[in-house]
Amino acid sequence: MSNPDFKQAALEHLDALYGFAMALTHDRTEAEDLVQETYLRAVRAFGQLMPDSNLKSWLFTILRNVWLNQLRHAHSGPQFIELDAEAEGDHPQWLDRVANDPHVELMRKVERAEVRAALEQLPRLYREVVVLRDIEGFSYRQIAGIVGCPAGTVMSRLGRAREKLRLLLGGWRTEAASR
């Protein structure tokens, strides 16, 4: 891929990268900085991209590494929520808010906002695999490369993440889906 081709192709992934950055940071400013830094590094490191590499996967890997570095700077190490630390009986506060919200019916019409809100309730490690698989369509193997873990871990993590997401979205989605 020539340099102009690379630049054009890289720009096509801007929306996806921003979405992933938002999923990681929950903060517009941080997400914008993250995406900007990702492109800066990508353009500089373009020469290291193997001809048969997946450009989108490579960009996501860079973005996640930049984000991890920033986390380390801030906390002397990534502050992941322990996946197994959440008690099974923990009831998501988000569900209470939805159930008690008088505008819940209105909210339910905005599915994107619902999914986004539910995703934001997931632990970060769960959230990123759901976004990478269900929003961005990466394969398990590609996700493993991006997040730096075995594919088997991606599979099990994704399974648990979807279960939690299912709980968070509640019954309405099943109903909506079957309409």
């Binding site: 630049k7 801007l14 921003y18 800066l40 500089r44 490191a45 700077h73 997401l165 889906a177």
Partner: protein
């Protein structure tokens, strides 16, 4: 069949997500689809799961970047200079092949200020230089330190392109400032100016953080005539130099070793521990020896001390 034994349907249900994620292949996929042909309940389970996943996936894109970000990214992409496409290690080998005597040119010795930095950066290569220093003391080798190994590993990872620089700059002041607040010590890189017409003998490329023992160390990349030099600095509360060949000189104890063909020298001074890694050859010893006797060299070391 025991209660704990899985039924064919249990097995299929466990594979539904993999099937819908297009992660089943060959016989597994064929067996899965064959079972669906025969089992209405599993077909329904697959259909339910597919609808649920599709309803989640229909939410894409979750977020849209603001127009200002798009404009900034387009500017980055269009204005950032094209990078070198050859791997750094290959470039280094080719350069060495084309200019085998590059690092021995007499011009190397003309500017004492530059030589001072060259000398400090090239300490790695100069196990022999310590023999001729005034108060040298040599003791037998001991095992290589973890810090030295980390520095060599960092050097090699950078050459392989696995450690992109977090700041790309030839400005020592800018890089020193970048480290402020990021590492638990103060690092001030020296700023040597070449005299008019003087060829620049080394180039500061940039820097990044590297993890070491649950903390961050400072990594600074230099090039001297296309040959990379790595400087890693950490607090001496995190690492102390040890191992290799000990050489005491000018009141400092240096530890020199050769690892995988790379020369590494570590030492501590004023609260910081340093490691220099390069593949510089023996000839560099002479230039180091010349300027190590001068004051500029000591000034360079002074400038790296932590703030108190």
């Amino acid at each position: 069949m025991s209660e704990t034994e899985m039924t064919p349907c249990d097995h299929i249900r466990g594979q539904i997500a993999f099937y819908l994620d297009d992660e089943l292949r060959g016989r597994e996929q064929a067996a899965f689809e064959a079972h669906l042909q025969e089992c209405q309940a599993c077909r329904q389970a697959v259909a339910d799961e597919r609808r649920w996943l599709e309803s989640v996936r229909q939410a894409r894109p979750l977020y849209s970047p603001p127009p200002a970000l798009r404009a900034r990214v387009e500017q980055i992409v269009s204005e950032t200079p094209s990078p070198h496409t050859a791997p750094p290690e290959l470039r280094r080998r080719i350069q060495r092949f084309l200019w085998p005597a590059a690092s021995t040119t007499p011009r190397l010795f003309r500017d004492r200020r530059l030589i001072a930095l060259v000398a400090c950066l090239a300490l790695i290569a100069f196990g022999g230089m310590w023999y001729v220093m005034m108060d040298r003391v040599r003791v037998p080798r001991s095992p290589i330190s973890e810090f030295a190994l980390m520095a060599v590993d960092t050097h090699l990872r950078y050459l392989r392109g696995q450690l992109p620089l977090e700041i790309v700059s030839a400005s020592p002041a800018q890089i020193s400032g970048w480290f402020a607040g990021k590492v638990p010590f103060s690092l001030k890189l020296p700023n040597y100016q070449e005299s008019s017409g003087q060829e620049k003998l080394y180039r500061l490329e940039g820097a990044r953080l590297v993890g070491f023992k649950s903390d961050y160390a400072a990594y600074v990349a230099y090039q001297m005539r296309q040959r990379p030099i790595t400087l890693v600095v950490t607090s001496n509360s995190v690492a102390l130099p040890s191992g290799g060949e000990e050489i005491v000189s000018k009141g400092l104890k240096f530890h020199y070793d050769s690892i995988d063909g790379l020369k590494v020298i570590t030492w501590s001074d004023r609260g910081l521990t340093y490691a220099l890694v390069s593949d510089l050859e023996e000839r560099g010893q002479q230039s180091c020896l010349v300027c190590h006797a001068g004051t500029k060299d000591r000034e360079f070391i002074e400038s790296l001390k932590p703030s108190r």
